[in-house]
Symmetry: C3
Subunit: 257 residues, 3 copies
Amino acid sequence: MAEPTVLATDPSPGVRLLTMNRPEKRNAFDHRLYCDLRDALRAARGDDDVHVVVLTGAGRGFSAGQDFAEMSAPPDGEPHGFPSFLDTLCEFDKPLLAAVNGAGSGLGLTMLLHCDVVYMAESARLRCPFVTLGVVPEAASSFLLPLVVGFQRAAEILYTAEWIDSARAVELGLARLRLPDAELLPATLARAAEIAAHPPRAVRHTKQLLLATRADAVRAARAREDAAFAERLGSPENVEAITAFFEKRAPDFSRTR
Amino acid sequence: MAEPTVLATDPSPGVRLLTMNRPEKRNAFDHRLYCDLRDALRAARGDDDVHVVVLTGAGRGFSAGQDFAEMSAPPDGEPHGFPSFLDTLCEFDKPLLAAVNGAGSGLGLTMLLHCDVVYMAESARLRCPFVTLGVVPEAASSFLLPLVVGFQRAAEILYTAEWIDSARAVELGLARLRLPDAELLPATLARAAEIAAHPPRAVRHTKQLLLATRADAVRAARAREDAAFAERLGSPENVEAITAFFEKRAPDFSRTR
Amino acid sequence: MAEPTVLATDPSPGVRLLTMNRPEKRNAFDHRLYCDLRDALRAARGDDDVHVVVLTGAGRGFSAGQDFAEMSAPPDGEPHGFPSFLDTLCEFDKPLLAAVNGAGSGLGLTMLLHCDVVYMAESARLRCPFVTLGVVPEAASSFLLPLVVGFQRAAEILYTAEWIDSARAVELGLARLRLPDAELLPATLARAAEIAAHPPRAVRHTKQLLLATRADAVRAARAREDAAFAERLGSPENVEAITAFFEKRAPDFSRTR
């Protein structure tokens, strides 16, 4: 039996901790991780004893985004886990906190745009490497990133693919707080426990109202992104970037997504 | 004859000052205050000699929001003042400044999201206590609060119901400036006078353009909030919170909304 | 043959520099500058060797906005250059950087809301003087200015027509960086070169996605602004402001728009 790709525990009443668990791949997403994290979120949503969810990563990284090195295809007839994972994330209607323990790249950054409160380890950093791979942003980030950090800063982040350290992430509003690495998870869990202590149905209803204000725009952005991504995939720029990647077999690949 | 719940004066040419005047209730809104402030705003809107309006509160508080202790019902056949007050506030098309002289809770915070310039006394503070009462945000704040302070910070403010002091309010963009308590009103009136000195029809047309960019979203958010509020009212969480309140008869009730 | 109103050069691979060239008018827009800058942007958009465009101004100013002093009308039958210039600017789908070398007033500020990255000389400053002229904002700024700087700060900028210095512009998010005057253009061109080095089709597709998230709102805002402007033009407030301007022949006119 393989190691589970998502670890679920309940560290305090009302709080569910989900840990992405592919540390040797810096928690890059293959088909199985998409499906397992999607299912873990669905289980948390359906469980009345879970009021708040905290996401983190095992090992040194938070998430390296899409795993190119191991393009594990779905079994015959099964749809890929990516779209249904995103649907579940976009519609998750209980407070979702993130403890960003290490590098987040691609989806490892854009998934944070769907979290309510993001705490970040001082050593962690974030990046949107889409253009360097000849592709485009995903997860509604073409809409949500400008909303969170402003149009100019979103444009710069997306056009340059530069790394964003934790101090800059807080300044930009991508994260709420940065903490010494050892204090990250305890602090995030403590915040989660505070929120979980409030009337859970009123909190959930409040989050539903917050999501409703942007649901249509998120849906429209994802549709545009999916169409653009399909057009970019296999384009000369994309083929060249992927070829260069595999030729180089860069040891830090999982950090550049 | 009862003391008026709204005091109206014209301290300088073109400037109308409206003071919420239930200081013993920290300017909590009962039916009468809703109606009187609505009527005062309508009168200011219809008066060509009024170019700018400044809102403040009498006594120690700005506004404690909905008054639970004195649920003064409308006379027979008269609709409650809350929705028509909000309509008037959302559509107010002359510059509206706020001098936040003390605590603003619930509507005492969310009404600021409809003001153009907010100045705040150093000792003042703000809070969204909705979840602690088992209910949800109102006054389009599920849309406007994320717009003003960002999604993550709005989520935290709404989920935790924490007090926001004046320094943090400025940092978040809820207020433009904080001032020593004694300088608050003079400074706000001076700013109002500067704006009132510009061509008033062009200024009013400018505000109409600013409101138009968000009018549909404000309307949609209010409709969703009203539906959610109706569902929450009388729910076990809400009944428990209200019961606890009246059993405790907390002396600082009006500050927790 | 007249001096060209727009100078175009390619200082490094993939980078096109466009310099507004009416220095004696502080690059105020007459019909010809609208048309020439529009055509230069269209040429840059259509040229596959151009990946990034940088806008700047010749002489001491960036742009004084609409030129009232020289209301050069289009030749018979030719439509005015303003709307088609704005169409081109709003839809420009390659990264557009601005090097704000001096004062930007009216359109000299609002055109920056359509740029991806704005660098500003320390001595430069910006202003929205619309209300002082009895008119209203343009170029979708009634939507984009609140989006960039927040509703309260946009209201204050538009109602008071105050000058914004470069430090405040960075604080507000109108500009990304301020630089010593002599370093402005080299720094902006260096940033442009960095962006131009990334796969250009992926970058362009990314910008198309960013523009798509706001295209409808930009179009709607422009329609409302155009209607409001038509109503304000020739109004008593507008006539009085323009008359005062020409009677005074203020030597610094081009800086007040």
